[in-house]
């Protein structure tokens, strides 16, 4: 077991549970190793803690729970980087941000691909005008 000092306090982790992002995040290529923090509450949000920079942690969610038609399919090159073949499972995660008014939005133009088989991840850029780095959650109809 190893430990790092984070905003969650001292975190002990098993190096074999570390998610590996071989290219880091976009513009932050020094951040290659992450931990999924255990959640205190059930829910769709998860803390991801950087191992390389203990001050860096962010929140992700499964965007398809909120945007039903959101689809990201990794291409051959991306599958190669994730270490999976065309049958390997690949999940899509979106980075969640919170405004000072406590409204949350999802970064749908820079999603993360995650391959559970290899524990590897990759941030990709979608140049699709429908998606923004701060896409607000769709409004829910109030009955």
């Amino acid at each position: 077991m190893k430990t790092i000092d984070t905003r969650f306090g001292e975190v002990e982790y098993d190096p074999s549970n570390v998610l590996h992002f071989p290219e880091g995040l976009i513009g932050l290529d020094q951040l290659k190793h992450f931990l999924v923090m255990p959640n205190k509450k059930d829910g769709p949000l998860f803390w991801i803690q950087s191992v390389d920079d203990p001050a860096f942690a962010f929140v992700v969610t499964d965007p398809t729970q909120f945007f039903f038609d959101y689809l990201v399919v990794p291409d051959t090159k991306e599958r190669e980087k994730l270490g999976i073949d065309e049958n390997g499972a690949c999940f899509i995660l979106a980075i969640v941000s919170i405004s000072p008014e406590k409204k949350i939005s999802l970064n749908l133009s820079g999603p993360l691909l995650y391959a559970p088989e290899t524990n590897r991840g990759l941030q990709v850029i979608l140049e699709d005008a429908r998606y923004s780095t701060q896409t607000p959650l769709p409004e829910i109809e109030k009955k």
Binding site: I26, G27, K41, D42, P44, A57, V59, S99, I125, E127
Partner: protein
Amino acid sequence: MLVLTRKPGEGIVIGDNIIIKIIEMKSGGVRIGIDAPKDTKIYRHEVYERIHQENIDAAAGWDLNDLDILSDKLADRTSKK
């Protein structure tokens, strides 16, 4: 920054395997062709910068308690679908 003047049809070679060509100039824009190895990541600069900045901002905005509060709200919401 290295600044070079090129005309349409001319190009630049970067390293051993990247070629950038000026295709044409049209209505204030410059069309550029790029030949590079498949694994070279190529993005429009402003798109790349936006995602870089959002990665930093998204990590900075959270308070530890926010997640618990929002988890309750969202759990309710996702279970309804």
